[in-house]
Symmetry: C2
Subunit: 138 residues, 2 copies
């Protein structure tokens, strides 16, 4: 897997992936950036949510659960001193649907966290990752 | 730091960060995705390049080096078996400019890798991260 990033100006960078997509990254105005795009550290949290969210949506659909929504909230705590690595990451899943089985939701999340999610498996070497879920029955 | 991701349909998710930006993530068509956005795992590589690229551009500008370009190429190797975590990540920096000091470039990269880059410090618990640089004098 390959990617490249290019400096545009200020602290703005454009990242391009092998699959043909591009995103803008920028720093906070307080440190001289222009806030024209996500912080690189935010990409880790968004990537974690996306990776695990895809697992959960996919597993529940395979189980023929009538899922209408999957939202993932991710909170990251960083160390106070440089390099300010992530120390704790908390994930909350909110799964909506009709007659959703709680057991199926729990099992899908556990499978993602323990078996399938590459991002979680890469981040957990340094950060402690915890998770919880809520089911919204519609 | 907080972020949220929401399922759109298929395996497409939209991630939103606390700083007000959004990105689309999607899976490969081979696994049922639509390839409408980056893979979540690609975000880790792009985030690593952006994080360190910002450090390098910023440090070199503070040193009054006449930098005209900073590009960062990132290659990631993943394990073959689930959860397919990143095992090795290789970063190549290409710094362009006039009368650029190689020592300054080397120092800036070392400072980013060893001291400042949060993403590197978070990823290196699991993945082995190596780096090299090229200077293009214009």
């Amino acid at each position: 897997m390959q990617a490249k990033v290019k400096w545009v100006g200020g602290l703005q960078f454009v990242g391009e992936s092998e699959t043909g997509h591009a995103i803008v990254m920028d720093a906070d105005t307080e440190v001289g950036g222009g806030n024209t795009g996500m912080r690189p550290t935010e990409l880790l949290l968004v990537g974690l949510g996306g990776c695990s969210g895809m697992d959960v949506a996919s597993i529940l659909q395979k189980k023929r659960e009538q899922v209408t929504g999957v939202e993932v909230n991710i909170k990251g705590e960083k160390a106070d001193t440089h390099p300010k690595k992530f120390t704790d990451i908390e994930i909350e899943y909110i799964v909506s649907g009709k007659n959703i089985s709680e057991e199926a939701v729990k099992k899908a999340i556990d499978l993602s966290m323990e078996k399938y999610c590459s991002v979680k498996a890469t981040l957990e070497g340094v950060a402690k990752i915890t998770y919880s879920y809520r089911i919204v029955r519609i």
